[in-house]
Amino acid sequence: MKVRLATVWFGGCSGCHMSFLDLDEFLIDLAEKIELVYSPVVDTKEYPEGVDVCLIEGAICNEDNLELLQKIRQRTRVLVSFGDCAVTGNVPAIRNQLGLGNEESVLQRAYIENAQHNPSLPREDGIVPPLLPRVMPVHEVVHVEHYLPGCPPPAERIKALVSQMLSGVEPKLEGAALKFG
């Protein structure tokens, strides 16, 4: 049976996913062993039940992130924090330095002060998710099985970890394979 793999993109730059795509021909090998059941690169709308592994890119920044992450945890056997934003909060979490309750000033900066056209705050109900008071790394919200830091983690390291998982060994990044930034 193929391993049911998911990838998800929270508060991050998508660089980790780009790095995943850099796996090149390994992706073809991978395709034989896995079924990609949910990902920004496939068109599934709802996170399915019974997922084996989910690679999580990005920090948890808004209420949508939070809700989906909790759903993912309930429906997935193994979670991997994928990249520095998921592991540490990284750049998205820099706004935490402004203290709690910085949501307004962050929006102000992004959508008013730095706007070139039509400065206005996006607040459509049900479309624009409210920001959380504090950006969190994934493991601050749910239990995470494995960590793959890097900004982004280069393709070889992704390959190493995924291969370990697929061959049933306890994945572990050591020595040169463990790197932040």
């Binding site: 750049v91 330095q97 203290g99 790394p137 995470v144 990044l173 930034g181």
Partner: protein
């Protein structure tokens, strides 16, 4: 001086009387992790990474400040020591804002390296995200408090090697911070000789040479003009 014989990680070795366990361990080929230690300046025993187990001593002892004794049986590595060391490192990462991806020291940082060596693939403690500033007032160097681990290596080289006494520590507990003179912007310091020893001493990205941090890249467009002019008009004229 009398020599002392002792064992480090089971290896019998001899060391000069007065040598620290850390010094002796080098001979034994044991690599004890350190952060606040810096060869050439006195030790303060602050980071606690170099703690070792000594048979018969109930307390863990810092290798950098404990001198060898005859018959000492030292263990520099154990499951317990490794666990404590990793926790200490995690506490450091959680304490200030170590965003490695945008750090001048990324890739050649002692803190990072130690974290890797201790298998720190994530930090279990909540990041505190304190608000710390950057002092960029000095013409040559920058001080980023977000990355300072308060090892005081800069303070010690400044006082005891350069003899300038510019760098100091102020405040207590989590509010402790490195200051310049009596807490003035670094650029306004008369005592700073611009020797740069503190920058060399710093184990992290807290102290850096100007122009090397992310976003600090300054371009000299004049160079392009110079080359184009030279190539096309055969004129070798600089902008100023």
């Amino acid at each position: 001086m009398a020599a002392k014989t002792l064992t480090i990680d089971g290896k019998p070795i001899s060391a000069e009387e007065g040598a620290t366990i850390l010094q002796a361990s080098e001979e034994a080929g044991a690599k004890i992790p350190t952060l606040c230690h810096l060869d050439g300046v006195y030790d303060v025993g602050a980071c606690r990474l170099c703690l070792v187990e000594v048979t018969g001593v109930p307390k863990l002892l810092p290798a950098c400040t404990t001198t060898v004794a005859e018959g000492m049986d030292v263990k520099t590595d154990s499951e317990r020591l490794r666990r404590y060391r990793r926790m200490i490192l995690e506490l450091l990462f959680a304490e200030r804002n170590h965003v490695c991806a945008v750090c001048v020291s990324n890739g050649h940082c002692e803190l990072q390296t130690l974290a890797y060596n201790h298998g720190m693939d994530h930090v279990r403690y909540d990041y505190l995200f304190p608000k710390w500033g950057v002092d960029n007032t000095h013409p040559l160097f920058g001080m980023d408090h977000n990355r300072c681990i308060l090892c005081t290596r800069c303070v010690r080289v400044c006082w005891h090697i350069e003899g300038a006494g510019t760098k100091n520590v102020s405040g207590r507990g989590a509010q402790a911070r490195i200051i310049t003179d009596l807490n003035i912007p670094w650029g306004e310091s008369d005592s700073c000789t611009r020797c740069g020893k503190c920058v060399q001493a710093c184990p992290t990205g807290a102290l850096s040479h100007k122009g090397s941090t992310v976003g600090e890249m300054e371009r000299d467009r004049g160079k392009l003009e110079f080359i184009v002019l030279a190539r096309e008009k055969k004129q070798w004229v600089t902008a100023d």
